[in-house]
Every structure is written in C-alpha cells, then in structure tokens.
C-alpha cells in the first residue's frame, strides 16, 4: 500500500509546502496536463509531501540513539520521550486534526496502563497491550459521545473533570489498580516469547510503537479521511450541509487518539514493571498539550519533535532543572508568540524571513 503512495509521489507536479505562506509565495499551480495520471493529473498537496522518506529517516535516527545514549538513566529518558511522543501523537488526532481540546490524556493513559496489566495476566504482554489500546479507545469514544454536544471550551473543561474523576475511580478501585499501593511485578514487554528487559530493548520497544504510530498517522493524513475531518473541524455546520457525518467522524478521531494514549499507558506499565496512581496526573495532560503546541499542529512530526524536545530540555539544562516549569512556560510563550506553527515550521519560517530580507 505504501508502494501505491510513493508511486503517486513520483508523479511530481505540484510540490505544496506545508505552510500556507510559502505555498502562496511559491504559487504552485496545478496546470491541466493530460499526459500525467489519466485525466488532469491534479492531486491533493498532501500526496506531494515526502512523508514516507521522512519516516524512513526517523527509523534510522531512532535506531542509532543507543549509540549515543547510554545507561539506565539516559535510555530511561529516551524511553520517556518515546512514551510522550505516542501520547502527543494521540493528542494530534484529537486536537490538531479534529479540533477537540481535551485534558483527558492522562485518563486514557491510565486506563490503557491498568487494563493492560489486568489483561496481561490472562495472555501475556501482547494481549494486555491490545486490550489497553481497545479499552482506552472505547473509553474515549464513550466520553466523546456523552459530550458530543459540548462546544470547544465546555468540552475542554468537561474532559478536565473526566480526568480527575477517572483518576479518583482508579485510585479507589483497588481490585483493579491496587489502589494506593499500585501494581507491582507487571509482566515485561515480550515479543514471540522473548522478554525485553534491558534499557536498550525497552527503549526500542517504545520507539518502535511510536514509529508505527507515526506511520499510521501518515496513512491517515494521506487519505480522504484527513481532509473530511479538517473540514468538519473548521466548518462544523457547513460540513453537515455538505453531507459529511460530522459526529461519527469526531468520535472516531477522538477514539483513535485515546487508543494511542492507551498504547503509551500499556508500554509505561510493562517497561517500568510498576505503576501506581501517582504515575498519572493532570500535569501529563498539560505537558502533552504543550508538546503538540511546541512541535506544531500542521505536521505529523510536530508532536514527536515537541515531545522529545520538552522531555530533553530539562536534561540539557541540568543546572537549572529546578526551574523546569519556568522553562516550560517560557518555551510555550515563545512558541505561541513567535512561532505559531511550532518547531516544525521553523525551516519555512527562516526561509520566509530570508526571502523578506532579500526583497527589502
């Protein structure tokens, strides 16, 4: 299937840059030309992006991380960055693609973790992992259905309440979550009977899931579902009079996001071996929001880049790590004010500034 995508990419006509400004400046014009793909040869700009090449580069990059990062601590940080990358990818479906501002990230993360721990008792890691994904996805779908009439802000506030409530229920539900004591001795991540227990193996396990998550997101972006969803996001009523069934589409997008978060929860539980209720807090929901804003909402690379940078930032600035929250706040203000497209828009932004300079 990816072969079909890349063969279409090979038929180059109009290379649309991801940000509006440079697309306009380069004024890519899809001329009628019958010599290309039967018909007009005009295709949506998304298919001119080389997303699968970028993905291949990311695979290589991830593969060599253990060459530069060593030890329990370093690889632990890298693993955490991977977990937050998965959470951020989930948030991308919910927020960037479908405009659903949610603080329930941590709830789906927790549901994924505890469900996975529970289910893995009956069939090992993979069963737990899949159960965590499904449970978190279904939970997200139920919440979205219950709140389907709530507009943006009310929805956000309601998900904040859902988050707090979910965490309380999980804390009190001792038979399922171990309550305040937590769950010890969680089965390690294992594949085909081989347990992944060393820091390097665990890092690779998390990174692989993150990369698969990005791959699936790219497949989603390179499909009619993405443009329909964006139209529903931006044009609500108009989309409905266009014949799009907006409500189911938003539920599916929200559930997909929840499923990603559930996957991250499962990986957290099975790589750490221990989970208790303090592993999950509303702060995680906020951090994920910051990561996506920081990385950028216009590209699938925004969330993972934002996650990696925000997790590594306090490590790089170890001497002032005590001021982590201050750094976060400063970074966000800077991005919102100076770089609304997030870090991924930086190259285009610089190019735009250079061009503006050359003109003046």
């Amino acid at each position: 299937m990816s072969a079909t995508d890349s063969s279409a990419s090979a038929v180059q006509s109009t290379v649309g840059a991801p940000d509006v400004q440079s697309t306009l400046e380069a004024s890519p014009v899809g001329q009628v030309d019958d010599t290309r793909v039967a018909g007009t040869g005009i295709r949506p700009v998304i298919f001119a992006r080389h997303q699968f090449i970028s993905w291949g580069l990311a695979v290589v990059l991830v593969a060599i991380v253990p060459l530069f990062v060593h030890g329990l601590y370093g690889l632990g940080v890298a693993k955490t960055a991977g977990l937050f990358a998965i959470l951020s990818l989930g948030f991308y479906y919910q927020f960037a693609l479908s405009g659903q501002f949610s603080f329930a990230t941590t709830a789906f993360y927790a549901v994924g973790a505890y469900t996975s721990i529970w289910a893995s008792q009956y069939g090992g890691f993979l069963v737990g992992f899949l159960a965590g994904i499904v449970a978190a996805g279904l939970y997200a779908a139920v919440i979205k259905l219950a709140l389907r009439r709530s507009p943006l802000i009310q929805f956000g506030i309601a998900t904040l309440a859902v988050s707090a409530l979910s965490l309380i229920i999980l804390r009190e539900w001792e038979s399922f979550t171990g309550g305040g004591l937590g769950r010890y001795g969680v089965k390690p991540v294992s594949l085909f009977g081989y347990d992944l227990v060393t820091p390097t193996e665990q890092f690779y396990a998390v990174a692989a899931v993150a990369l698969i998550g990005i791959f699936l997101l790219i497949l989603f972006e390179r499909s009619p579902a993405q443009r329909d969803l964006v139209f529903v996001r931006d044009m609500a009523d108009v989309a409905r009079t266009t014949g799009l069934r907006s409500s189911p589409m938003l539920v599916v997008a929200f559930a997909l996001g929840g499923a990603y978060m559930g996957a991250a929860g499962s990986l957290l539980a099975h790589t750490a071996g221990f989970v208790d209720i303090t592993s999950f807090s509303i702060a995680i929901s906020l951090d994920v929001l910051l990561m996506v804003l920081l990385g950028g909402v216009r590209s699938v690379w925004g969330p993972p880049i934002g996650a990696v940078v925000l997790i590594l930032l306090p490590e790089w600035l170890r001497s002032i790590a005590d001021y982590k929250d201050l750094i976060y706040a400063g970074v966000i203000l800077l991005v919102v004010l100076v770089l609304p497209g997030g870090l991924v828009s930086l190259p285009h932004r610089i190019r735009g500034l250079r061009r503006a300079k050359a003109r003046s």
């Binding site: 007009t40 579902a225 329909d228 009523d237 009079t241």
Partner: protein, 256 residues
C-alpha cells in the same frame, strides 16, 4: 411543467425564533430544470427558509424532493436527495486547498473513513483518484483549476464564491440552492456568474436563487417568488412580479 412532480416541494414551512415568526407557512415548488428566484427585503425570511430546507434550523411543514419526504432539522439529509446549497458569505475552509475544499462534497462516500485509510488502501486510492479528477473538472468549470493546490485563504472574495460553486457542482446535485451568489461581486464577475449559471441551467440543473440584484434575476430566472416578513406576497415571471404593487410597496417601504 406544472403537471410533472416538482423537484423540490416545500409545503407550509414555518420557522419560529422564540416569539418571532421568521417564516410563516411558505409553500413553494421548484420544477425540474427551472430557475426560481427568491426575493424580498432584508429580514423577510429568505435565508431562514433556505436554512430550514437544508436542515440547519428547526422548522414545521414538509419538504419533498422528487415526491420523497426529507426529514427536517437534520443538516445533510437533503444532500442525499440531490439538493445542495451555497451560503451568503462563501463558506470555504481557508486552510484546505481549493481542490480539497471541493473534494469534501464528493457524492462518492465509499472508502473515505479511517478504516479504509489504514486497511483498504488500494480501494481507497481507486475511489479517491476518481474524485480528484471530478473535482478538478468542477474547478475547471468555475475557472479555478489553475489554483487547485492553493489554500483557499489565498483566494479573492469572488474566487471564494466560485470555489463554493465548484464544491456544489462536485456534489452533482439536481437542484442547487444559492444564497445571494452575486453578493460582493463586481459587475464583471457578476456577469460571468450569470453566464455560468445559465450554462448549468441549460444542462438541466435546477436553481433556487436568493438575490437582490434585479438585473441578475431578470437575466436568470424563469419565475420569482417574493417574501415579506416571512410570508409570500407575490409570485410570477420577473416582469409580472416587478409590476405588482405589493412588491413595490414592500421594497419602497424598506428603502432608506
């Protein structure tokens, strides 16, 4: 024309906002191939009537397309019966390109969901490719094919109007409801639009057009219905309607 089943039949449509009756038992018919004008002073309920027919506001009464009843109050219900609409201010997604803005209205609803995107790529591709070509043809029709991959934010106001029409054409409707399609267009653009609409009409598309510009209506419409304060006060050919004293009173009473 009068013996055939009407393409669109609105029976005693009423819309209330609190105590205000915005549309008061208005009935109208659009016959296949017909161009019907809907006029009236500001606040006479034209747009509200259109919103009622397209399901955006709750309404009482009955709407039938080809004799089949369409459920009211559900946006999109009438689209499946081949009736599409445009808006008073062009409703285009500024972030999506022209092509994408058109594609969302594709009547082909197969393999557009997440499951096809993840699992049935070859089929998704086959359907989507066909859509691109049809959408490009629709853009070509309104003269925007050269801007297919330009985000709608980069279009002029007049171009956005034409983009909305391209989207409507891509939906392959039998009847197009248009809310002031010439509003905000200069006389050249407006003239071109009349030309396009007459072409479409000649190809069998039926139109229901809300408009203020009298010249626009005279060039285009077979029949005109006049609303005032939510009620129909006149109907007939353009010349009949303009000669009607009630119409003159409604408009002059409105004049500043």
């Amino acid at each position: 024309m009068s013996t055939a089943v009407p393409l669109l039949e609105c029976k005693r449509i009423s819309v209330r906002f609190g105590g205000v009756v915005a549309v008061d038992e208005v009935s109208l018919e659009v016959h296949p191939g017909e161009v019907l004008g809907l006029v009236g002073p500001n606040g006479s309920g034209k747009t509200t009537l259109l919103n009622a027919v397209s399901g955006l506001v709750r309404a009482r009464g009955e709407v039938l397309v080809d004799g089949k009843r369409v459920s009211l109050g559900r946006p999109g219900a009438i689209v499946r019966h081949g009736v599409f609409r445009t808006y008073q201010t062009p409703q285009v997604d500024r972030e999506l390109t022209c092509l994408e803005n058109v594609l969302v209205a594709s009547p082909d609803r197969a393999h557009r969901g997440a499951s096809s995107a993840f699992m049935l790529r070859p089929r998704m591709w086959a359907h989507d490719r066909a859509r691109w070509q049809e959408a490009a043809a629709a853009l070509n029709r309104v003269g925007l094919v050269a801007k297919a991959n330009v985000p709608a934010a980069g279009l002029s106001y007049g171009e956005q109007r034409h983009l909305e029409i391209a989207r409507a054409l891509h939906a392959q409707p039998e009847l197009l409801l248009m809310d002031e399609p010439a509003a905000g267009l200069n006389s050249t653009e407006s003239h071109r639009l009349v030309g396009l609409l007459r072409e479409l009409s000649a190809e069998g598309l039926s139109l229901l057009v809300i408009e203020h510009k009298i010249s626009f209506l005279e060039e285009l419409c077979d029949r005109i219905i006049v609303l005032e304060l939510g009620r129909q006060i006149a109907a007939g050919t353009p010349s009949e309607v303009w000669a009607n004293p009630a119409v003159m009173a409604a408009y002059l009473g409105e004049a500043k």
